[in-house]
Amino acid sequence: MRADDGSDCHVLVIGSGGAGVRAAIEASGYGDVVLMTKTIPGKGGCTPMAEGGYNAVLREQDSCEIHFGDTMKGGAYLNDPELVSTLVAESPARVADLIRWGAVFDVTEDAMVCQRPFGGQRFPRTCYAGDRTGHEMMVTLIDRLGACDVRVLSEVTALDLLKDGDRVIGAVAIDDCGELLTVTADSTILATGGGTRIYDISTNSSSGTGDGFAIGYRAGAELIDMEMVQFHPTGAVYPYDARGRLVTEAVRGEGGILKNRLGERFMKNYDPERMELSTRDVVARAIATEILEGRGTPHSGVSLDVTHLPRHQIEEKLPVMLEQFLKFGVDIRKEPMEVAPTAHHMMGGMRITRECRTTLPGLFACGETAGGVHGANRLGGNALADTQVFGKRAGEFAGKAEPRRKKIDPEQIRRQEERLAAFLRGNANPAYVVRELRLAMWDGAGIFRTAGGVKDTLKVISRLSKSALIADSSRNLVECCTVQNMLLTASIVCRAALLRPESRGAHTRTDIRQTWDAQNSPFSHTFLAQDREGIGKSGGAA
């Protein structure tokens, strides 16, 4: 590393999705901010791909208590109630920020933000911009970011956090040519999004590789509920390379119905009351069961049908769906979509306080990288709200930190250089390692789990983790680092899955019979850190 490749700032934000950019905007009011991102801001992460909407209590007939109740129930009561109260209380103000900054949400004739029904909610509270809500938010945030004094390090990938004793003091990173650099900071915010790219079938963008979980874990932070992986009920099933692509819940919100190969509207057998708009864990299991029991379509999916809706409704409310399916030869105005579950969202993550403080001093987390907000199952529309509410809070409390003197431990840099140098001598193709990991995760740590299956997957991960990954040149180093993050994240998911001896929300253990429902579960969060792991008893976090 060259000596001049280090810089200092007050707040370092890692990640440029909805949470990271919101955090950077907020933090810029307190001092100089660096936004480090492995993508181009506005293009990376999953926020620009989020389609359906943003939950906020905006109408008199709705209330924060109902939103709180829906979120807790949807989360199988594993959510941290304090974080949920914060989410529902502050979500309306954050959508107001976006609107002030220019977000073009759909509005009604009487000048209210449009809201649509989403699964597991007793009130239609999902605000939207057609079916490109996240993209609309992201362009608005990037526009706002441009007006703030934030230094953006584009296509620079964080490798690990820098530490001074227990305290996090920034990060060491690598640029797109493979050069190491460091950024020290009084506060560091991890907003790197989720990681369901560790599964064979996933909705995530290429950046959803669990970097934040791995980076935080290696630095000593504690993660909670990492077994809680949301499988979105409706992902595309073909062509093969498009498998897993998100088919938004808004399709069902607008009135889309699910049918099996026999033409049966099967949700009546799983949740007759809420039908297609049940919570995602329930709908995903229902679809998976239909397929497993032989009632799936030829491409191993089920039908999601909107052909009964008026054309203009599909064209206006679901334009992205229409366009994407047309590209693959399906006109959703005339024929049903074929869909199946796809790994979508990590409910678990860094343990945080309401101020987004992790268990490590100097380190904050927000968005999908943080855990506890969504419990065992996230409601559609709560993730975009999460990015804004906790992005803002992370930026604010990180910004309020005292400036301090930071001293980089040269040993840490040396270890990093050694790690990178080893990749240039490796022999295992990172692409092959990832392929095997994804299949193993899908097989053993998917929708239905057993201890045996999870252990088998862990064995595969453990073997793969020993491979000497090869980087063709310094430009390829980052691929190797990313694969290591994926392996570590996957192993944490599996270990957490073994720690929870119950079925709850998205975590289904078919090898365990239990006598309790979620509300009466004897367990709370699973937790994992380098020096400890376990599961909390109900009534208080461990």
């Binding site: 181009i40 441009g146 290429s206 093969y240 390379d241 498009a242 193709n429 430009r475």
Partner: protein
């Protein structure tokens, strides 16, 4: 699974003198996109291949590349064997990775008002079509004006129009848009034809901004003069001699049996400046069984006004033209000016169909002309190729009469009021056309638009001919040969 062979541009500016094409053969799944071919090359053959991607579902705009010269999103475009994959026409960082940041940083920010407000549904509905941009910069990579001026480009204009429509924005955007090059756009339509989200930037942003500029008195003086001329004479070209309308009869019968009857919308350029091309076209039509009605009350289609944002007189022109043809019971109106054709087809709501001469001749078929001993290149008029989607037809006609050599389809610089309003820019683009023409080693340049014909003539030493003229030359040669026999 199937096997696919592609060529991919490889270039590392740090060590390569120039980009080169490498050929790769990979196995991919059925339905694979271009992105999956790149993945396969990277994973199986050559990990040093650099390319950018992220969402994989057409929503982030990271992966735009050129396939066979056309910008596309790699993640959405189906892969075909034989394709050539190159970076966008932007500064290349490595292989297929281009530097997007300079253009992205030009996007103007919204200046929020202190008092928050929510736009009305009407305002939102107006803004939404401009909002689905994923900033892939395909439009920027094909914009001809940006190559010769400091124009900030189509997507900046798109965002300026959005800001102009948004009640939350507190500063006036029009003066800025003019500074950013609002009047340098040639209306070539290249930007929206490559836009993966099909955002109609020229019509929905640039012309609208020019109309707002007009209200603020920012229309260019030369454009005001043209508007004044149209108001006074009904024509955008000054009358220096007898017009075509005055020279011709109202009904012109074909030489043989009638295959079809059309009303001929002559257009200002053919009426007053390029008359010979129109007279040649009339001969070609007569020879091919087309009965031509030429109503004399027709006036300018209004294109020079619409493209430059001067809209107050448009409805008068439209009404007069529509009535002129409709009152005679004409159900098919022929245009041979690409600009008039695109205006009548896209800016008018007509009770009759509008057909371009190339469409008409290929639809009814032509008597084969004699082949001329000419190597010819064809210049696609923007308002024909992109405005009306007519690309195949002129080629089909030309191959019967000359040896055709292709050149890239790029604007000649005469459209959008640029020739009159920004003559330096028009000349710079014209010069580039001249260079392309020289590279084809063609003896003659053929086109099918009076503006292109006129403008290109000033920038090449090769003769520039209307397609009708060339067809007629073919017929004349045929007649001579028949006589000699």
């Amino acid at each position: 699974m199937k096997e696919i062979t592609v060529k991919v541009s490889r270039f590392d500016p740090a060590c390569d003198p120039a980009p080169r094409l490498e050929t790769y053969t990979v196995r991919v799944n059925d339905g694979a996109r271009v992105l999956h071919v790149l993945h396969a090359i990277h994973d199986e053959i050559d990990p040093s291949l650099s390319y950018r991607y992220c969402c994989g579902s057409g929503q982030c705009g990271s992966c735009a590349v050129q396939v066979n010269g056309e910008p596309v999103l790699a993640c959405m475009e189906e892969a075909h064997t034989g394709s050539v994959i190159e970076p966008l026409n932007l500064p290349v960082k490595k292989d297929l990775v281009v530097d997007l940041m300079p253009a992205l940083q030009n996007l103007p920010p919204l200046q929020p008002k202190d008092a928050p407000c929510l736009p009305s549904k009407e305002q939102i509905d107006a803004i939404k079509p401009l909002r689905s941009c994923i900033e892939c910069l395909a439009c920027v990579s094909v914009c001809p004006a940006m190559t010769v001026t400091k124009f900030l480009g189509p997507t900046v204009m798109r965002e300026e129009m959005r800001l102009a429509l948004d009640p939350r924005n507190c500063d006036d955007r029009i003066a800025t848009a003019v500074q950013e090059g609002l009047f340098t756009c040639t209306s070539c339509q290249a930007c929206w034809k490559v836009c993966p989200k099909e955002i109609e930037i020229p019509g929905k942003a640039i012309e609208k901004l020019r109309a707002l500029a007009n209200r603020q008195g920012r229309t260019l003086p030369r454009h005001l003069e043209v508007a004044e001329l149209i108001r006074k004479t009904g024509r955008s070209v000054p009358r220096t001699a007898e017009s075509l309308l005055e020279k011709t009869g109202e009904v012109i019968e074909p030489y043989g049996p009638v295959k079809a009857t059309v009303g001929f919308f002559v257009g200002c350029m053919y009426n007053l400046r390029q008359q010979q091309s129109a007279l040649d076209a009339i001969e070609v039509l007569r020879r091919n069984g087309i009965r031509i009605i030429i109503p004399k009350e027709q006036v300018c289609c209004g294109s020079p006004l619409i493209r430059t944002g001067q809209l107050d007189y448009i409805d008068t022109l439209k009404k007069r033209n529509i009535e002129t043809f409709a009152s005679r019971g004409i159900d098919m109106v022929l245009t041979m000016c690409a600009g008039c054709g695109t205006t009548l087809k896209n800016d008018y709501r007509t009770p009759f169909t509008v057909i371009d001469i190339n469409e008409l001749l290929t639809k009814y078929g032509i008597e084969p002309p004699a082949k001329l001993p000419l190597r010819a290149t064809y210049h696609d008029p923007c308002h024909l190729m992109r405005g009306q989607g007519i690309r195949r037809e002129p080629r089909e006609l030309l191959r019967q009469v000359v040896d055709l050599v292709e050149m890239p389809a790029i604007c000649c610089g005469s459209g959008g009021g640029v020739r009159s309003g920004n003559p330096d820019e028009a000349a710079a683009l014209g010069k580039r056309r001249g260079d392309e023409i020289r590279r084809t080693k063609a003896d003659v340049v053929i086109t099918s638009c009076p503006f292109c014909e006129f403008h290109i003539s000033g920038h090449t030493d090769k003769p520039v001919r209307n397609i009708a003229t060339i067809l007629l030359e073919g017929y004349r040669k045929k007649d001579r040969e028949a006589e000699m026999r």
